[in-house]
Amino acid sequence: MGSTTVHARAIAPWLTALLGALLAVAMLFTASPAQAAPGDDQEQTPYYFGGVITFEGEPVAGVTMSIEGNGFNAETETDAEGRWRLYVPEKEEYVLTVDENTLPDGVIVDPEQLPEGIAPRSGTTASFDVEFGLTGSKIVNLFLGEGERVTTSFFDQFVERLINGLNFGLLLALASIGLSLIYGTTGLTNFAHAELVTFGAVAALVFALPLSMPMWLAVPLSVIAGMLVGYLLDLVMWRPLKRKGLGIIQLMIVTIGLSLALRYTFQFFMGGNTVQLPGAGSPKIPLFGAVSLSPVAMISMAISIVVIVAVALWLLYSRMGKATRAISDNPELASASGINVERVVRVVWMLSAALAALAGILWGYFRPGVRWDMGVHILLLIFAAVILGGLGTAFGALIGAIIVGVLVEVSSLWIAADLKYVGALAVLIIVLLIRPQGILGRRERIG
């Protein structure tokens, strides 16, 4: 250490001071654990695993080791002499994992030099099944060596998240297209869309459980019920309020009131608990590698794709679909050219509510579980999708939803799972900063 400082003094005095301070800090940090016995940071029990990690004969400090099993987990770091100790509550079998990110670069736990009877778990190079012998302690000394890391098959994990994200994105798309169509034809930002989503799932639950219908019947019936709700809402609320001359902002706040009232009505009837739809816990079928998918997820994706294609064809080729797009473009011009705007808007409300109900059922399987506030959980993701794609454009909503769905699922590979929605919401704000009209939107819409 002395020689380092002397050498540094030749370069610049301030650098000396800085280096000296850094070294002092480094000494402080490495010195304190060296004084203590390994495992002092944990609750002491009669049973522990311990050992030393060495690389080319030198101890390796600061390696994070964790142990998991029988509902228990703990973590520690190796000290300056490379020693570690992990206490466990029971004399059982555990999984010991070395965090490869804390090892020197390009180095793995050498599989050739493992203690007798210990082998890496399949698909990994740093996780081991460990168990006790006759005594309450087990020594697992690990030697490091150059080698290729197999990181819990990152690619397989990525593909699985990607497929999940696609599934999530497709169900978001169903809800987003409906919201976007309403926005396009009426200019209304409908906060109660979340409750239309919840309604679909709750209706499916009612048809499937108390009325004990099979799902192939319950799903279409719930979608029809959703459509009916859309019709009724337009009949008793939106059309009369529009005729009363309420402004768009007023109507938006009315949708917030409606959202609150409906949400708590669901809670009033079903309470605060989560109920599973039939078939929600079906076992996953392995596809390739470590990727597996439940049959419900596959059916869910198939239904989403079929429905989205059907809606797209309807928008592109049917008279009503063409009228819808014309109104989205320019309501006055559409009205002047003989399109019955009120009639089209009513159909769009029915379609929007039906799509939301279907999205709700699929969301009930994806979460999984039906709950009174399940729609609100994805409302902002739906908004993010709609804004990302361009407010009022149905195809933009589709693209936006898939991007948001994949982003939410895949981003949890890197960021904490409880922050995965934050990424999507941040994208929403960033899009408004750099391209407020969204991917497919036109400049004029942002006014």
Partner: protein, 325 residues
Amino acid sequence: MDWGGIFNNAAGWIISPTTIAYALAATGLAVHFGYAGLLNFGVAGFMAIGAYSYAISILSFGLPWWVGILIGMVGATVFALILGIPTLRLRADYLAIVTIAAAEIVRLLFTSTVFDEWTNSADGLGGYHAGFREANPLPPGEYGFGPWVYSSDGWWVRLFGLILLAIAVFIVWAVMRSPWGRVLKGIREDEDAVRSLGKNVFSYKMQALVLGGIFGGFGGVVLALPSAVVPATYMTSLTFYIWTILLLGGAATVFGPAVGALIFWVVMALLDGILPGLAAAGILPISAIQAGVLRYVFVGIALMLLVIFRPQGIFGNKRELTFVK
């Protein structure tokens, strides 16, 4: 039914810290929406930032309580600037969606275990009261009359909250009759007209967003003063309750938000007493839990009816309608 108990409880809500906190937040929202026409749906975010700034500066950094409040003001200002820069140039409903999303981001960040060291994640923060209570100028003991009997600390929280509310209401009153306030109302009515007079509309909107945001932050602080800071408080439904309060009192009024908060909480307390009572007496065929939920259904219905039939609120002037276009 115990009518005495119900009315006693409801009367207590007139000066409860929660009522004062909601009144402060609604006053801030009045500056945003009532006077400047900004659709801020991120009130819960401003309140969360105020409350957490206060608690974290005391617990993690050992600062005095009044510095915690100043940091809450700074936090709310920064949040307003971050929100305003991308959105104030855009149309109103974009601001609505962005603010609601930003408030959710704030809540998720405070809930996340990633920042557990400072925020204590979902469990929230508590035990930061010592400094504030030491500054209590009131004599110790329990005093008051009728339904308003509180400990010295209880009175201190209420007194301090009322002082903040009085300051906020005074500032709104003074500022809105000044030329600055007139420009703001002009922006609300017709942005382009104000712009053609050579005013910097963006700057005025930003100043309004910051001013109202600071009041929202104060609301969060007052909500945190007597008890604890729990992230689940700051859901989007909190924002919607503040909106209901604002529209109840009158969006473009000085005292409307404060009176709205008072009416809101007294009615909620009355319903909280009466509905379970009716359920228990067998008059309503519902359980006690359902009776509690029913109150929130009424909030939603009240919000709809207000906007449809009396958008100017109880104290508002019909000519000064705040829903433009």
